[in-house]
Amino acid sequence: MRGLLQRLQRRAEKRLPALTRYRRPEPLPITLHRRRIYIVPSGFGLGFTVLLLVMLVGALNYNNNAALLLTCLLGAASAASMLVAFRNLDGLRLDHLRAGHAIAGEAIELVCSFHSDRPRSAIRLDLDDESTAFAVDGTDAARVSLRLPTRRRGWQPLPRLRLWTSWPLGMFRAWSWLHPAQSVLVWPRPEATGPAPRAMADDARHMQLHRGEELAALRDYRAGDPQRHIAWKPSARHDDLLVKDFEQPRSQPQWSLDWRQLHGLDDEARIARLARWLNEAQAQRRSFSLWLPGNDIGSGSGPQHYVRCMDALAGLP
C-alpha cells in the first residue's frame, strides 16, 4: 500500500510539477518562504479535533456556557498553533552544506548550516528515513549533520531533504522540501587484499634522510642547532632559547603509484587497488606520488595530499 502510494506520488510529481510542488535542484542558499511551506494537521491534530467536537457538543447539550467558552479557547489556541508552526519555518535559511569523506557503501556525513534571525525550536530535517532535530538560536548558525548512504564511487547528487516541524503543540505539521543543487564525491572502496606496490627500495634517492617539513615541537636550545631553527617569538617569553624541532626524516621509501603499472585489471579493480595502496601509504606515513590518466600528482604526504589523491581516484570516469 505504502509502495503504491509512493509510486503514485512520484508519477504525480513528474507529471504535475506545479501541483505537487516538486522542487528542482536549486543553488544555495535556500530561504524558506510562504510559497514553499506546506502545513497539514497531524494525526494527533485530527484526534484532538474530534475531542474538541465532542467537548463542543457536550457543552452545547448541557447548555453550559462556561464549558463552551473553555472549548472555544482550546480550539482557538490549537488553531493559532498552526500559525506558530508556519512561522517556525518561515524565513529559515539553508546557507551551505559541507560533505565529509566516505568510501562507497558507507554513509557520508553532510553538515547543513541553517541560519535564522530569530530563535526557533524543534525543527527536524529528514533524509530518507533518518530524522534529526535541531534548534536555531537567533545569532549563530545551527549545524546539523546528516548521514547520507552511498552506493558507488564518484559524484553523487544530493537527494531531496525534508525540513519539517510540529512545533509548538504537535497538532500541525509544517514542512518544506530542500533540494540543493550540489553533489558529493564518494571515494572508491579499496580492495580487501592484494599485492603491495613494487617498492623501489634500491633507489638511493628515496632513502636519503631529510628533515620533515612539519613542525613537531619546541625544545631547549642545544649547542650546534642551526640559528634559523630558533623560535624567536616563543623564546622571548622564556628564559632560555627555544628551538623548533622538525619531524624526523622518514626511513620508509617513497611509493610511486602508477595506473599504468596495473596491467590486466579492469578500471574499477585498478581504482580499488590504488585506493588500498593510498590507504596503506597514509597509514604508514609514507610519501607517495600518483599517476592517473590525465592527472599526475607529484610526490607528497600528509592528509591533504591523501585527500587530493583519493578525490582524483573517485573522480575518474
Partner: protein
C-alpha cells in the same frame, strides 16, 4: 500538497519534564474536580498519581499489567457501586478522571502523553458542568496552561529553560487565542433543546425545601452562595419589607411542617392596594418553586400560581432563570376565609400539650380579640428570655413544649413554628411561610443580592377583615434579623470569613458574579437570537450566525496570517535617523524627491535654511561618513548622529 508519510519516529524516550508537566495537569484536573467526587476516590487517585510520579522518577518504565488491570476493575466497580451506573454526568466524570490517572501508569511514549493531555482537557471541562462560576471558569482555563505546556515539552530540540518559564508560551498562546475564542463563543449556535437527556438532578447544594422542621435550616443558613438577584422597577422596598415567599406550609405533624401542592385550585382572591414590579434572576435550585416578593399578582410565563399564591414553574430550575413579576406590597389576601378553615387550625394529636394549653388560655383571656392574642405571643417571645442562635439545643418529642418552656433558644424556624402552633391552639388560622428575607442592596449594580443564608421562615395569621397578615416572630426576638439581615443577626456565630468588612467586600464583589451570570452563563439560544437587535435584525437565525462566524473567523485568520507572514526588516538605526530628519525638514516643505541622494538633499536643505546651514552641513558630513566610510560604523557615532538629529530644531524660514 502531497507529503510523504513521515518516517516512524524511533521510540523517543519521554523526557522527565514532559512527564512532570503531565502529572501537574492531572493534579490540576483532580483539584478542580475534587468538590464533586467522593472523598475516597479523590484520595485514592491522588495516592496513585503521587506514587506513579515517584516511581517513574526513580526508575522509568511502565507499571506492570498485574497492578494496572486490578486497579481499572476496582475503579469501575467502585464507581458503579457508588453512583449506580457508569453513564451520566457525575459517574462519567469520575470514570474519566480515574482513567486519566490510570493512563499515567502506562505513559512512556509520546502517544501516551498526547492521549493523556486530551483526557486532561476533557476532564477539565467536566469540572465546569458542576460549577460554572467566574472564578472556577478562570481556574479551569488556567488548567489548560500545564496541558499545553506538556504538549510543547514533547517537541525535541528545545532551548533549555526552567519549569516556570515553560508555562509562559502556553499562557501567551491562550491569550492570543482569546479574541477568536470569544467570537466563537458568541456566535456558535446554541441548541434550543438538548440532543440527549437533560442533565441529571444535582442535589448536592442545599436549598429551600418543601418541608421544614425546626433545626433543619442550619446548613442553609451557613451557606452563603447567592440564591437570587433582584432588580426593582423604581425604588426598592425598605429592608423590613423584603420578604420573598416560596412555600406556604399548612400541615404540621409534630415534627415538621410541609407544603401540599394542590394543582387544581384557583388562587385565592387578592385585593391589591400597592404593587411593585421587579425581575428576579434565580440561580439553579433544582426545585420548581419560584420565590416571589410578598404576594405575587400573577405568575410569569412558564409557571403557574397555586391556591395560596405560591408560584411553581413547569419544570425544575436546573439553569439560571430570569423572570419578571409584579407583587402586592399592601394588600388583603383572601379577605373571606374559604369553606374549610380547619385546614389552618390542624394540629397533631397528643403533641405539645403545654403549648396547646398556653394557646387556649390566651383565647380565654382575650375572648375574640385575635390581634391581642398575636400581641400576647410576640410579647412572650420578646420578654420571655428567648435567645436567637444558629446552634440551638436539640428538641425532644414535644418539640414546641421543649422550645417554649425549656431551651428558649433557636432561630426563625423555631419561632415561626412555635408561633403558628400557639395561634392554632388559640383558634386563629395560621400557617408557616418559608422563603428569603433581607439581602444586600448593591448600590453599584442597583440590585438586591439574596444569599442562601438569607433563608427565613415566618408566619401568617388570618384576621377578620384583614385577611392573611404576615407576622415575623423572629423580629420580636432579634429585630436585627429583619432590619440588617441574617449576617448581622447571627453576630459572632459565623465563620471568620463572613465577618463585617470581608462580608462587605464579598457583597460588593458580587456585582462581578452577577455580570458573569447574566452575560456569560445565561447567554442562551434566546439571547443569541436577539444578538443583532441593535443592528436592526430582530431574529438572528442559525444561518446568519454561521455566516457571521465564518466572516469573523476569516478576519482573525487574516490578522493571524499577517502576523505570521510579517518579515521583520533588519533595523538600520542610521537610516531611521535620516528618516526622522527628513520628516522634520518636510514640515518646512523641503521634501526629499524620489531618487534624490542624501548628499544632494541635505545640501539643498542647507541652502533653503540659511540659518541652519552649518548644522545641516555638519549632519550631512556625519551621515556620509557613517554610511560610506566603513562597513560597520561604530555604535557610539551612530548614537551621536541620532542624538544630533533628535536635537535638531527646524527654525522658521525667514523670507
Amino acid at each position: 500538497m502531497i507529503g510523504r508519510k513521515p518516517p516512524k519516529p524511533a521510540q523517543v524516550a519521554l523526557t522527565q519534564r514532559a512527564f512532570d508537566l503531565l502529572c501537574l495537569s492531572a493534579t490540576f484536573v483532580l483539584a478542580v474536580n475534587a468538590s464533586h467526587l467522593p472523598w475516597w476516590l479523590n484520595a485514592a487517585l491522588a495516592v496513585i498519581l503521587g506514587g506513579r510520579w515517584w516511581q517513574r522518577r526513580r526508575r522509568p518504565g511502565r507499571v506492570p499489567q498485574a497492578i494496572k488491570l486490578p486497579l481499572l476493575t476496582l475503579l469501575t466497580l467502585a464507581i458503579i457501586a457508588y453512583y449506580g451506573n457508569l453513564f451520566g454526568r457525575a459517574p462519567g466524570t469520575a470514570l474519566g478522571i480515574g482513567l486519566l490517572v490510570l493512563k499515567l501508569l502506562e505513559t512512556e511514549t509520546l502517544r501516551d502523553v498526547r492521549v493523556g493531555v486530551g483526557f486532561a482537557c476533557f476532564t477539565l471541562m467536566t469540572a465546569l458542568l458542576f460549577d460554572q462560576g467566574m472564578v472556577s471558569t478562570l481556574v479551569v482555563a488556567l488548567g489548560l496552561v500545564p496541558a499545553l505546556a506538556t504538549l510543547r515539552a514533547l517537541e525535541p530540540a528545545q532551548a533549555p529553560s526552567g519549569m516556570a518559564r515553560s508555562f509562559m508560551p502556553a499562557l501567551g498562546l491562550l491569550a492570543a487565542a482569546l479574541p477568536l475564542a470569544l467570537l466563537a463563543f458568541v456566535l456558535v449556535p446554541r441548541l434550543g433543546s438538548p440532543l440527549w437527556g437533560a442533565p441529571g438532578r444535582d442535589q448536592a447544594r442545599t436549598g429551600l425545601s418543601d418541608r421544614m422542621s425546626p433545626g433543619a435550616f442550619t446548613e442553609l443558613l451557613t451557606d452563603d452562595h447567592p440564591a437570587m438577584r433582584v432588580t426593582f422597577d423604581g425604588e426598592p422596598p425598605p429592608p423590613d419589607q423584603r420578604y420573598f415567599r416560596a412555600f406556604v406550609m399548612s400541615r404540621y405533624d409534630g415534627v415538621s411542617w410541609s407544603y401540599a401542592d394542590v394543582a387544581h385550585a384557583a388562587p385565592v382572591p387578592l385585593e391589591v392596594e400597592q404593587a411593585i414590579g421587579y425581575r428576579i434572576s434565580l440561580l439553579p435550585t433544582h426545585r420548581r418553586v419560584l420565590p416571589t416578593l410578598d404576594v405575587p399578582i400573577d405568575a410569569p410565563a412558564g409557571a403557574v400560581m397555586r391556591r395560596d399564591h405560591v408560584v411553581v414553574a413547569g419544570r425544575p430550575v436546573d439553569d439560571a432563570l430570569n423572570y419578571a413579576l409584579s407583587s402586592a406590597t399592601r394588600y388583603r389576601l383572601e379577605p373571606q376565609l374559604d369553606a374549610r378553615p380547619q385546614r389552618w387550625l390542624q394540629l397533631p394529636a397528643r403533641f405539645n400539650p403545654r403549648t396547646l394549653t398556653l394557646g387556649q388560655s390566651w383565647r380565654e383571656r382575650h375572648g375574640s380579640d385575635d390581634a391581642a392574642i398575636v400581641r400576647e405571643a410576640l410579647a412572650l417571645f420578646h420578654d420571655g428570655g428567648f435567645r436567637y442562635t444558629l446552634a440551638p439545643a436539640p428538641l425532644g418529642r414535644d418539640a414546641m413544649d421543649d422550645f417554649l418552656f425549656d431551651t428558649r433558644e433557636g432561630y426563625c424556624e423555631h419561632y415561626s413554628s412555635a408561633f403558628t402552633v400557639l395561634m392554632r391552639a388559640a383558634g386563629i388560622p395560621a400557617r408557616v411561610v418559608t422563603g428569603y428575607q433581607g439581602g444586600y442592596w448593591n448600590k453599584l449594580g442597583n440590585y438586591l443580592l439574596v444569599r442562601n443564608s438569607d433563608a427565613h421562615a415566618w408566619s401568617e395569621v388570618w384576621l377578620a377583615d384583614r385577611g392573611w397578615v404576615r407576622v415575623d416572630p423572629t423580629a420580636a426576638v432579634r429585630p436585627e434579623r429583619v432590619s440588617l439581615g441574617a449576617a448581622a443577626a447571627a453576630g459572632d456565630q459565623l465563620d471568620w470569613y463572613r465577618r463585617d468588612w470581608l462580608q462587605q467586600f464579598r457583597n460588593r464583589w458580587d456585582i462581578v458574579n452577577r455580570w458573569w451570570d447574566q452575560g456569560v452563563v445565561a447567554f442562551d439560544a434566546l439571547r443569541q437570537r436577539g444578538l443583532l437587535t441593535p443592528f436592526g435584525i430582530r431574529d438572528t437565525d442559525t444561518r446568519t450566525l454561521g455566516v457571521l462566524l465564518a466572516i469573523g473567523s476569516s478576519l482573525f485568520i487574516a490578522i493571524g496570517l499577517a502576523w505570521a507572514l510579517r518579515r521583520r526588516q533588519p533595523r538600520d538605526p542610521l537610516r531611521e535617523a535620516l528618516r526622522t530628519l527628513e520628516r522634520k525638514l518636510a514640515r518646512q516643505r523641503i521634501v526629499r524627491r524620489t531618487g534624490e541622494g542624501p548628499q544632494h538633499y541635505l545640501s539643498r536643505a542647507a541652502r533653503a535654511l540659511p540659518t541652519q546651514r552649518s548644522q545641516l552641513t555638519e549632519l550631512m558630513q556625519q551621515y556620509l561618513e557613517l554610511c560610506y566610510a566603513s562597513d560597520e560604523p561604530a555604535p557610539e557615532s551612530v548614537h551621536a548622529f541620532r542624538r544630533a538629529v533628535r536635537d535638531f530644531r527646524v527654525g522658521n524660514v525667514v523670507k
